[in-house]
Symmetry: C2
């Protein structure tokens, strides 16, 4: 659909909204010497972003090549429509996390062909221009969602911008995007929340039996509730559709427990197959790596010493996890290395005094 | 209930079953010079465990102090009953992952007072005597589940054994144990499975939008299905009770989506509170640490170099995660450090040439 190598990105790029995302876009584009203009309803935000080096203050007489509406969902439609109206040649995009509703609104605009939606899959626990970083999008997916009338040149402009900031553009229609994020982000968030909510029922010392599996499955449930009320509400129909399928499987499991191992096995196998579809190292890790466990004392420099010793063994680390210490002054590192290499890493670490095992 | 420092553990300890768990118990006890006897229905397993240094072959004329039935759930009752009958003074324990059913069976035995159940919360993706390790239980919870007639001395024997192998004994009744593991292990497993199962519905490039949250919530869904059919079936009633509460919350979420943000917020908040109840670093991490992101090239020694540089900055690493690379030759390390220390780590790493940011 488009060549995934950055073309020249002519400036200026006008970033409207100098929060975490807008400032980060400015910083990343400036690193490639793209001319960046900054605007924000709050002049102090522009000042802060300019002081960080994210671009220069927008002035009325400049015609932007690309306008990025880096504003919250509630403001996006208004900012995009005003940009399309005000500049007759500028391409326009946004950064909101649910796309179909905005696309429908923009489709009603006569200049909709210059708009292509965008959604960078990156964030931080911090916000505001001072939290911006030129590296925020490095290696992260950036969904680009052209509408039915979007010009190829408008799509290319947004894709080029995503590539310039180090992101991996993923092109799909707005409705498909919303179904996709329901599946890979919004429903996992709900499931993590539902799992964690039950922990409020725990009695006495029961949670002392918690292991890494519980911490993994409930980690994202610790996120900000207000943010997720907003996201889930905006993508309600797609999230509901997936959750209804989840409920059907849950009903099958509840009925099958202790009664029908065949049904239970079907659901468990379906989940196992699902994990194999996730791109990247983690999803496919169980079958393709050796896991080496190493005890690490909880004091400064120990993990550094372990990594140095691991590095000197010549073995590349595929993945690494630290487990908590459960009231002991020792943690457990899980090092994933290529299949067949685990035993030699255990040997090398043991020779250097570590307690290592598979 | 019992002092949590290891008393002297008189031998001999007879371990029946020389698989991963039994062999690991033998190895760990031998490291403290406890006399360990080994038995297994399969003589080759005993030979292998003896060759690993896990103990000596059991001979008929030896009276054990403690018998550990390290056999699969289906064989546990028979092995425990025979041990209680055969040796009139030995304490007896087991290692199965669901306790109430076995306890009820043993309660019918006249010698039940010498039995206390056990469940080490540790495992490996490998099995058999060659996979055994003296460190398998280090820092892991070991549930010890006395029955109503269990002698204090029998409980102490099992607790002492758990302490000798480096585990953290958690004492609770069998029925309470089964409710606890339903909550912290079995239900999270089902929830992870249900989340991952939906990924089979993904179309086209949708899973390219997957992020670390999806990988975290679905990691344990990659586990062996046969093992989980067995575990879930054995603890069916307790797992069902929790899943029914999950279903009630799920129904509330499905109904509230796009309709009632108050209800949605209640469920999300309940989940967020639940994560704060989990002991250990990870559960409480979001509020108490700074997260520093660092780009790491995917070649041998890079992570080692990063850890060395981090160590030399004098900052202790609270937690560390590696993110996958999404088709780029670069990964992302998330380093958690004490609150307030993040900026100085970013500065130190940047000075050494790393691309680091918060």
């Amino acid at each position: 659909m488009t060549a995934l190598a950055p073309g020249a990105l002519p400036g200026p790029v006008l970033v409207i909204g100098c929060g975490l995302i807008g400032t980060s876009i400015g910083l990343a584009l400036r690193a490639h010497e793209v001319d960046v203009l900054l605007a924000d309803a709050e002049p102090a935000n522009v000042e802060a972003a300019v002081s960080r080096g994210a671009g220069r203050t927008f002035s009325d007489d400049t015609e932007p090549y690309l306008v990025v509406a880096a504003v919250p969902p509630a403001a996006a439609e208004d900012v995009v429509v005003r940009a399309l109206t005000r500049w007759s040649a500028a391409y326009v995009t946004d950064v909101t996390s649910v796309k179909a509703g905005l696309q429908r609104a923009i489709d009603a605009h006569p200049e909709a062909e210059r708009f292509a939606g965008g959604h960078p899959m990156a964030g931080s626990e911090r916000s505001g221009p001072m939290a911006g970083s030129a590296q925020l999008f490095e290696g992260r997916p950036w969904a680009v969602t052209p509408g039915s009338r979007t010009l190829p040149a408008a799509l290319d402009a947004v894709v080029d911008m995503a590539l310039h900031v180090g992101a991996v553009p993923i092109i799909l229609e707005a409705a498909a995007h919303d179904r996709a994020v329901a599946l890979v982000s919004h429903v996992p968030q709900v499931m993590s929340t539902l799992t964690a909510a039950r922990l409020n029922d725990a009695q006495g010392n029961h949670l002392a039996l918690a292991g890494p599996g519980l911490r993994d499955t409930t980690r994202i449930a610790g996120s900000d509730s207000a943010l997720w009320i907003d996201i889930l509400g905006t993508n309600a129909a797609d999230v509901r559709a997936v959750l209804e399928l989840v409920r059907a499987d849950l009903d099958r499991v509840i009925d099958a427990l202790g009664e029908d191992d065949g049904v239970l096995g079907d659901v468990l196998e379906s989940g196992r197959r699902g994990t194999e579809l996730i791109p990247g190292k983690h999803g496919s890790a169980p079958a393709r790596v050796d896991i080496v466990h190493v005890q690490v004392a909880d004091r400064p420099g120990e993990l550094s010493r372990l990594m140095t010793d691991t590095g000197q063994s010549g073995v590349n680390i595929e993945d690494l996890r630290l487990d908590h210490d459960l009231g002991r002054p020792v943690g457990l590192a899980e090092i994933a290395v290529a299949l067949g290499v685990g035993d030699s890493l255990v040997e090398a670490l043991t020779a250097r005094g570590w307690t290592a095992y598979r």
